[in-house]
């Protein structure tokens, strides 16, 4: 498959996934804020800090308020990771490889983009973002379903899934990071029942509440953390994302299971193994924020290695044997 096409498939899915996660992140932030007592400081400042885009936000809007934050994350075309920007980038990538994806996939990305673009023209989204965020999540689910059901699960599809799962691992880590104060300890001036409400809202933001209940029953800080980071089967847990990404990467390279493969396979394999055997109490003891910081930087390394190995223009016809050996270059 063409390197450029693989690259575009990978990013089409990454941006689509990012749009969904921004919607999830904003949704939980708005809900948690509603439930927070006024005494608990400025709830909005933390939200922008969690996106890591304080500077560009401040340049455009100054001090964060509810309305400016909603605008920044949803309909602002200048904001790099707003939903409208992600949907546009997903569509731009899809548009450059329409012949390589199914028409249904293209139509879903296109419809999604038109939905977001049209909503971006009205003030209604900023005033009441709930329906909009729900529509974005639903469109993303349709997109994943359509790609799953209408595209051959070959190399291209695996590049797409690889992009999606790496993005999701990264985004889940950001949502957890943003709420780490909540997850690390009981808030001092928050009552026990409110504490539960906040944990429930966090779980709901990643559609995890019901699945969590089935697994653990009552709400508990450490258990929530364990579920979101280390659960083997929940589709948004970091471990599950890493496992599945690894499966796709192996399918792409066709590396036999006993071989360690290309550089991205080694980096991703190491990370997935770490999560397979991780113990939640150790992560907490080590410092959750530091841990998540490191995870994000390792995910960046995997992304860079994928780029080097598959997308950067290579000049030599490469055979199967060479490809497996060129890992540690």
């Amino acid at each position: 498959m063409l390197s450029r096409v693989a690259d575009a498939l990978y990013w089409m899915c990454r941006y689509a996934e990012r749009a969904e996660n921004v919607a999830r992140f904003l949704d939980v932030s708005l809900q948690v804020t509603l439930d927070m007592p006024d005494s608990h400081g400025d709830p909005w400042a933390g939200i922008i800090a969690a996106t890591g885009e304080e500077e560009s936000f401040e340049a455009c809007y100054g001090a964060p308020t509810r309305d400016t934050i909603v605008r920044f994350l949803t309909v602002d075309p200048e904001s790099e990771n707003s939903i409208v920007s992600c949907a546009r980038l997903a569509r731009d990538n899809a548009r450059s490889i329409r012949e390589s994806i199914s028409s249904e996939t293209w139509e879903q990305v296109n419809k999604w983009y038109l939905l977001v673009r049209d909503a971006a023209g009205s003030e209604a989204v900023v005033e009441d973002p709930h329906d909009f965020l729900a529509a974005v999540k639903e469109a993303s689910h349709l997109f994943v379903g359509v790609t799953y059901l209408t595209m051959t699960h070959g190399e291209g599809w695996h590049f797409g899934r690889l992009g999606r799962l790496l993005e999701r691992a990264d985004q889940t880590s950001r949502i957890v990071d943003a709420k780490q104060a909540l997850l690390m300890a009981r808030l001092p001036d928050v009552g026990a029942s409110l504490d539960e409400i906040l944990l429930a809202a966090l779980l709901r933001s990643v559609s995890a509440l019901e699945m969590y209940r089935k697994r653990y029953g009552r709400l508990d800080h450490t258990a929530v953390l364990e579920f979101l980071m280390l659960d083997k089967q929940f589709p948004r847990s970091i471990r599950h994302c890493l496992d599945t990404a690894q499966t796709s990467l192996r399918a792409i390279t066709a590396t036999p299971s006993h071989a360690s493969g290309t550089r991205p396979e080694r980096l991703l394999g190491r990370l997935a193994a770490e999560y397979e055997y991780a113990i939640v109490d150790e992560i907490v003891a080590e410092g959750l924020h530091e841990h998540l910081d490191q995870l994000q930087s390792k995910l960046n390394d995997v992304g860079a290695a994928i780029y080097e190995t598959f997308f950067a223009a290579r000049q030599e016809p490469v055979t199967q044997e060479q490809r497996q050996d060129d890992g540690p270059q």
Partner: protein, 488 residues
């Protein structure tokens, strides 16, 4: 929708005769339209537009903001061509395609036609699309032009004429296929009863042609479509055709020349390419051969073409035959190579490099259409009767400064088709672009084509870049179907 108020007018109407009776093959369509409530037709029109937008069948407009896409306006009243009429067009188009290929091959080899005094050497060599570097080139199976989309018009006399040839990269065929899909949904019953010939076979025919012209030694050829990229106005068509044929769509940066072959860059290294359906103009193909300043292109690809190790469709240099001055010689070209009379006539054409013809043109600018010889897409054109005297004077200066670059034709009273305008049916002028394929053995004419319609009242300019839209073209399998039994 009330049809009794529809006025065919002073022009040839494709659906109604001057007595307002539906023409052959249009009876059922006319009856269906008149039986539809007004709102229903408008609703179907809207739903057709919506599906085109969702399918993303868009073109980019030059001069607009980068990345601006529009849908080509679509009108749901089809243009009907009955079977006997089509049979003649088909023969005429195939004849033209055959003669043009012999001409191009001759021009780049022995030049018999020039030596025999049929066409002056200056006319050929002064064509901007003539490429001296293609002398002696031998494209596989001797075919230079594989894909041709001539523009036909029907004049007030009811006859079809060839208005111009497009032998470089004719575009628009994807609209033909998409319009058809939408029409089947919009008028399923009439469509079936009218026995309309299918157009869906085009991608398979195209792939067959491309595989047929593979270089020697490539038993199972790798075919690709080469596009300038997503910002090209016809990008969605390039992508669509690649997808429908199941081949890779490549951009110049995906290709590289190495060890005398063309390769594409894949996730598994370089992979060889044998046949390229290129949608890039000649001069942007290879910066080493043509334009060193070009950012587009694949350096060195022309040397691979010359060595016969990759086939381009259409072959480079083919454009010499769609120069608008060369066009005037096509009837003579057909007689010269085939010994036959042209089945489809040209529009009478005045050549401005000829002193006598030029003075006629300059004296009659208010009656003529003047075209630049090397432009297309409705650019570089003067519509004499509709232009201001200042515009005519400016054009007269341009003609005098560079006579070789201009031709003039009488303004044809293009035929019209009923078109939905502001929820009413009004006549609008149309042309017809059929698509013709040549893979070395036989010639395939797609039974259908792009009917372009000038949506502005009174306008004769149908180009999408100038406010034109499109219609589905129904070529009927026979002329009996579509009438009810009482009428037979």
């Amino acid at each position: 929708m009330e049809l009794s108020s529809y006025a065919p007018g002073a022009f040839y109407d494709e659906m109604f005769d001057p007595e307002r009776r539906p023409r052959v093959g249009c009876e059922l369509l006319a009856r269906t339209i008149s039986a539809l409530p007004d709102a229903d037709l408008v609703r179907r029109q809207r739903s057709a537009e919506r599906s085109l937008l969702h399918m993303g069948i868009t073109f980019s407009v030059y001069g607009h903001e980068r990345g601006t896409e529009k849908i080509l306006p679509f009108d749901l009243i089809p243009r009907v061509v009955h079977a006997r009429e089509w049979a003649k067009l088909e023969r005429g188009l195939a004849q033209r395609m055959r003669a043009m290929n012999l001409f191009i091959d001759d021009v780049y080899h022995d030049r018999k036609i020039i030596n025999d005094g049929v066409i002056p050497v200056e006319v050929v060599e002064s064509a901007a699309s003539y490429l001296p570097g293609c002398r002696g080139l031998d494209p596989p199976r001797g075919v230079w032009c594989h894909i041709n989309g001539s523009d036909l018009v029907r004049g007030g006399d009811g006859h079809y004429y060839v208005l111009e040839d497009n032998l470089r990269c004719p575009s628009g065929v994807s609209y033909v296929l998409h319009n058809r899909q939408v029409m089947k949904r919009t008028f399923p019953r009439v469509f079936e009863a009218s026995r309309v010939r299918p157009v869906d076979g085009y991608p398979s025919e195209l792939l067959r042609v491309l595989q047929n012209v593979r270089p020697r030694g490539a038993a199972t050829p790798t075919v690709v479509v080469l596009t300038p990229g997503p910002y090209n106005s016809a990008y969605s068509e390039h992508s669509f055709l690649a997808q429908q044929m199941g081949v890779e769509l490549v951009e110049p940066r995906d290709l590289t020349v190495r060890d005398g072959f063309v390769w594409m860059r894949t996730t598994r290294g370089l992979s060889r390419v044998d046949v390229i359906y290129r949608r890039i103009d000649d001069v942007f193909l290879d910066p080493l051969a043509f334009r060193p300043d070009s950012m587009l292109g694949v350096p060195g690809i022309m040397s691979v073409v010359r060595a016969g190790r990759v086939a381009l469709a259409n072959a480079p240099g083919t454009g010499v035959a769609d120069d608008k001055v060369v066009y005037a010689y096509v009837p003579a070209i057909i007689r010269y190579y085939l010994g036959e009379d042209p089945i489809l006539p040209n529009v009478p054409t005045f050549l401005c490099f000829d002193d006598k013809q030029r003075s006629h043109v300059l004296a009659n600018l208010d009656k003529l259409v003047v075209k630049a010889a090397n432009e297309s897409g409705g650019y570089g054109m003067l519509m004499g009767p509709q232009a201001s005297s200042a515009e005519r004077a400016a054009f007269a200066d341009r003609i005098k400064a560079n006579p070789r670059n201009y031709i003039a034709q009488p303004l044809l009273a293009l035929s019209r088709v009923p078109t939905l305008i502001d929820e009413q049916l009004e006549g609008r002028h149309v042309d017809l672009r059929p698509y013709v394929l040549h893979g070395g053995d036989d010639i395939f004419v797609l039974p259908g084509g792009l009917t372009r319609v000038a949506l502005k009242k009174g306008s004769f300019v149908v180009n999408s870049s100038q406010g034109g839209g499109s219609k589905d073209t129904w070529v009927l399998a026979d002329d009996i179907a579509g009438r009810d039994s009482a009428a037979c």
